[in-house]
Symmetry: C3
Subunit: 294 residues, 3 copies
């Protein structure tokens, strides 16, 4: 019953804008919060907007635990008709998310690698395909998988701190961003910018990221939350159903591509990451990070 | 006998630039005009350029009658070897075209919806696939289907009046632009701009439309026709055959996609538009328009 | 053993960045040069960078001989583990390359046309799919096939001389750029810019080429070689293997498309170029060029 090529992204029956929250039912508390170990979620029921805060020290790296919590939290909100939009931000200063947790990819079993990669895929499938409005409030650096989270949202606002940077820098580590990271990136910045940035593994400072279209807007530090709320309100002014179908129409081809090749993608990741040369490269990178810290 | 993947767009045998008009035959009048109820066409045979003026008050909405006349007029010109290019503009102040006529989509039979949608498809297939040079001289607001007409031309010039706007604002009405509106839009502005603009159902004022690449040029009101003629002359300086094959190469994939799914697209539209929730949404929108007028 | 959809581009086993040049073996001379009739190659083994200079007077047109030498030279470097990057430039003042040699396409046998076209394809397949870092140092005008060489590199730097221009101007000659010229162009500048530029057969002066993204950077004449070396060093700072896999991921779809339709593409070219109307058009163009010279 949808226009051609358009299917609802998630299993949730589409909510009908503000009207959806006026149907009969038990009275709802004005604000609910739930938290696991690594992610804090606050839902403001008056606006229909949830805030998802990453709080996994030291750098919000995307460990298997983090990814699992992320998917559970997102699914909870997706199925909660009181929630229409999510703002993603970090509870840790200076870092949005450092990306995939390298310790999950180094010196583990192939079974572990496969489980981990499936969780990374799951995170992206749910976020890029979310029915909700998703806004990234990028309050720190955001390399690799951290950048992917931002790229998968509907809108990206970044603090204009010159110490922050964002990009898919996998090539710098001697590894290759998977095709669906690339597809997501191309959808945001176009083929040429993606080709150059991915090959160089570039981490872009805020003004450059803005110029390239990697983020939509830069704001001074103190304005980030206010701006994120204003953007969210603008997107929520649209009727959910039409917006969701439109989003699905734009993203379906790229989502379908991973769904169609998911097991193959896992096999490829496991083979690639298990190679001794890659393991060595990652160990060297971790050594370097340790030295930097001390 | 064409380069790979390149097929002439229309059935007309390609004209060979200016030479095509010098072949023997009865002498031609310097200017011919024909008019139906809703569209006025003037062909200047000395330049090979036709002007197609929309004159369907109050807002040039794309009714079934308008679309039928549009297709007949365009086919006439396509088959007229004296015509190499068409400029589209409005004979009504402040509005280029208000887009699809909502009265055709509201409270009618499913047969009517199917017939109407086939006419919308036909209009786009003929215009986006035209062998002629097509220039939109946008002298008023141009939402939804009006924007599609502009997007389907080879070049877009817009009056820089701050009261005008242009965009695919379907989402604002609770409906979804079909995939081939989206494909046409993406071909002009790229994936990211299209994703955001479609989800928000944005109507862009001229400077923003220009910045996004949705229109190619802004001109002061009094310069529009002069500019359109100059752009047309620039495009007609090229040999028709090579230009036509190149245009076909660029647009064929997107045209073929609708041709391959045309009946399915009609079915989808009819099912979607027949839903009570959508009918209600359109009725509310029409009420709002009526109140605005009075 | 590669991530999904990622295959090494060439047959050469991937080198591992700088480490690749530190393996045991016979000591290497600091600089080697080889030259055929039309191309001069200098390889600086300390940096791993080769300079390929086109020196085929009067205008570096891509004749069958030139293309053959180009492919042999590129393959030599591709298989030379001492070489990681190539800078392409012209040894002839004011012209980078004038593109395909029209004399190869005019008044010859169909067998000759087929052989010539296969050589053009081969040049592009090797260059666009090269494992090495490729930088175009554009020190003169670069129409048609000359522009294709530049577009196929990883990075384009152009002298900002207002007398120079660059573009795929085939339509001006009454011919049509093949689909893989178009695909390469779209990957660099996007669909809209490509559509307009190809239909008009535009030759863009340096500032316009830069604005459209057709070249990445403009430099004053005396800075070109220095800048090319600096850009090359930046790209070579990345580990080769990851960069090569990333490049392949970005370019594979477009390369595969020609590989899949190569014979068909040759047939189409031969049929098209053999047409009397096209031959006439090319003869007129050659006459015009001759008159210009004298």
């Amino acid at each position: 019953l949808c226009p051609p090529g358009v299917l609802p992204l998630c299993r949730r029956p589409p909510a009908w804008g503000r009207a959806a929250r006026q149907r009969p039912g038990p009275p709802l508390a004005p604000c609910r919060a739930f938290s696991n170990n690594k992610i804090l979620v606050e839902l403001d029921e008056s606006s229909g907007v949830a805030m998802m805060k990453f709080k996994s020290p030291p750098v919000n790296s995307l460990s298997l635990d983090f990814l699992t919590e992320f998917c559970i939290s997102l699914e909870k909100l997706e199925n909660d008709r009181a929630c229409r939009g999510v703002i993603f931000t970090s509870a840790i200063p200076k870092i949005f998310s450092s990306g995939l947790d390298i310790t999950e990819m180094c010196g583990k079993s192939t079974e572990h690698y496969a489980e981990f990669w499936r969780a990374v895929q799951e995170m992206w499938l749910r976020l890029y395909g979310s029915n909700m409005v998703t806004v990234a409030a990028i309050n720190g650096s955001s390399p690799a998988g951290g950048c992917l989270i931002a790229l998968s949202c509907d809108y990206r606002i970044m603090m204009e701190n010159p110490k922050f940077s964002i990009g898919l820098n996998e090539a710098q580590l001697g590894i290759v961003a998977p095709f669906w990271f690339k597809d997501t990136f191309v959808n945001v910045v176009g083929h040429r910018v993606a080709e150059r940035s991915l090959q160089l593994g570039s981490l872009h400072p805020p003004p450059e990221a803005h110029k390239l279209g990697l983020v939509d807007e830069l704001v001074p530090e103190e304005k980030l939350q206010e701006k994120a709320a204003a953007v969210m309100a603008q997107w929520l002014a649209l009727p959910d159903h039409a917006r969701q179908l439109t989003k699905s129409m734009m993203r379906k081809a790229v989502l379908d591509r991973l769904v169609a090749h998911r097991e193959e993608d896992i096999q490829n990741f496991v083979s690639f990451i298990s190679k001794e040369s890659i393991q060595k490269s990652l160990r060297m990178y971790m050594e370097m990070l340790k030295k930097k810290k001390s």
